[in-house]
Symmetry: C2
Subunit: 338 residues, 2 copies
């Protein structure tokens, strides 16, 4: 089967400062779609996911758990696709799968899982029921070790991960406080995402004072998405035996020199646990995650807000916008109808 | 019973910079030793323990788990004493107990435990079998979650805690690397305390390079005693899923502004766990601690080096010397013979 395949490539690595839409470009090629031996799957790409960790892959330095993109080759990440050809006995033509795939119209798919397009809106499998939702689930239920009645504070709380953490924590019986970077996002936190209290961190000149106002009894759990000055202020407000689940530090990803942290002595003073995690280390929790979260959606107990760009050519702008915090809700790109 | 009681007091709090011997003084008073109701114990003080956490009690600010000393009143801490009077059914005259007591010749004792002066040299109950040894035991066996064959790095490795951590880790089957601040201490690490490798951090202009040289395969566990620049260098050298047991940050205790930490993003990149702890949260482990450690001493498997100042009047100098790293081994003060 020969197709005209469009794809997004990185023109060059960007090690410092912001990456820009113009650092990526759309290419077109004619190619023959051919299975490579056994257990291969070729898909028509339906949706692609824009996630903060992709900033690391635009850097030339290999200092994280994931390698850099190769300039000139298609970028890639989590996506949803419809199976066109399969030599993997687990998948057949017409199945819809989530997996890792190129930022392209057509791609081989890796680490695929079949999804049920009837259970929830399809794009949810990239977010609420995808990597970011599972990240929220692992981070809250496992890394935070929550107890009913405890106070959790979440930064970047309206993001793809944060909006799920807030709702999981509310359902679990915690007091839930979040921050975001615009009034629109703050309104979503309390109206849709289960947060009891929310504030716009950009309007708080003194983060320590803001946290003391919104969490007057202190913080038992901090779900860390941003790093830097926010983390430093949170450390001052943690309660004894508090837990900090370190999911991301998006405020630091563009910085050549990281913001200094001064308050780590609170790790001893308050006997805190800080733990970095990635969801792929906890795949044993996936069955209970799917069961719980699909159940909660069907019972109407969960909301989910997405920001979907339409068309593969919009992917670079969507990615950069997400890194700049311009998206409202989980950022994805729709490439094709089912 | 009326006695002439000598005691050490703090003249005033010292919030910033080094504390000095001259910030403390010896006082003398005549007093009548009288039991205060039930479950009280009065002891002749035998030994007193000089520990890094005492620096925090010399400060006026209450921002830790332990209150400041009151100027003019006797200082206090862990000690050993011989029971003179007791209204506590667990203790009788002549018993030797470890507990919390004044820096004085005579004191009421709190949280006392009877010790066996025949099992090991008596002063060991302030160190190897006391708070610092138990801190090492909790930090290594519980917080570090060790596995045989893993590499552990210990800072302040010849200190009261570090020398026990090294030996516990060696007995357990780990590769053990330590640092200290003089050649004499470094020699002790490899000759007496079970360390496979050791270095003098004061002679290493680039701590990151030193750690790469002494731990070329990376660090699975870091037993943190010093904080600051050492912690920042260690973060760069941790292996995936590494654990950092945060026991103390002695390099930071005198500083008005804490040293900045820049490399916390490695908590995500390497999925690290940092955990602050104090031994009093883990008293359930004390029975196994005493059984194991007394057993290892009797089998000749453990060494212990102490630095004992002779006389209550030497206590201020011993404390300051320990905070400056001048002691070799666990610093205690002998107040009286049994």
């Amino acid at each position: 089967m020969e197709v005209t395949n469009r794809f997004i490539t990185l023109k060059h690595h960007v090690d410092q400062g912001r990456a820009h839409e113009s650092d990526m470009e759309l290419g077109t090629t004619k190619e023959k779609l051919e299975l490579k031996g056994e257990n291969d799957v070729i898909v028509r790409v339906l949706y692609l996911s824009c996630d903060p960790y992709l900033r690391g892959r635009i850097r030339s330095t290999q200092d994280s758990y994931i390698p850099p993109f190769t300039p000139g080759k298609p970028m890639g990440g989590y996506g949803l696709g419809k199976v066109l050809q399969s030599s993997d006995p687990n998948f057949k033509e017409g199945d819809v799968v989530s997996g890792v795939m190129d930022w392209a119209d057509y791609s081989h798919a890796f680490r695929s899982t079949k999804v049920d397009p009837e259970a929830v809106p399809l794009s949810y499998y990239l977010g609420a029921l995808g990597m970011t939702g599972f990240t929220a689930y692992v981070g809250f239920f496992k890394i935070c070790e929550p107890k009913k009645g405890e106070t959790i504070y979440v930064s970047a709380a309206s993001g793809a991960v944060g909006q799920m953490v807030g709702q999981f924590a509310r359902l679990f019986g915690c007091h839930v406080v979040g921050s975001a970077g615009s009034q629109q996002k703050v309104d979503l936190l309390t109206s849709k995402f289960g947060y009891h209290e929310a504030f716009n961190y950009k309007e708080e000149p003194d983060l320590d004072a803001a946290l003391k106002r919104y969490c007057p009894g202190g913080i038992d759990m901090y779900f860390e998405n941003v790093g830097g000055k926010m983390l430093d202020a949170v450390l001052l407000n943690m309660k004894d035996h508090g837990r900090i689940a370190v999911c991301g530090m998006v405020s630091q990803y563009n910085k050549a020199e990281q913001d200094p942290i001064y308050n780590l002595s609170y790790v001893i003073k308050r006997r805190l646990k800080l733990e970095g995690f990635i969801q792929t280390d906890h795949l044993d929790l996936q069955p209970e995650f799917f069961k719980s979260v699909i159940g909660w959606f069907k019972e109407g107990k969960l909301n989910y807000v997405e920001d979907i760009a339409d068309g593969l050519e919009k992917a670079p702008g969507a990615l950069i916008g997400m890194l700049d915090g311009k998206n409202v809700g989980k950022q994805s790109v729709k490439v094709s109808d089912v």
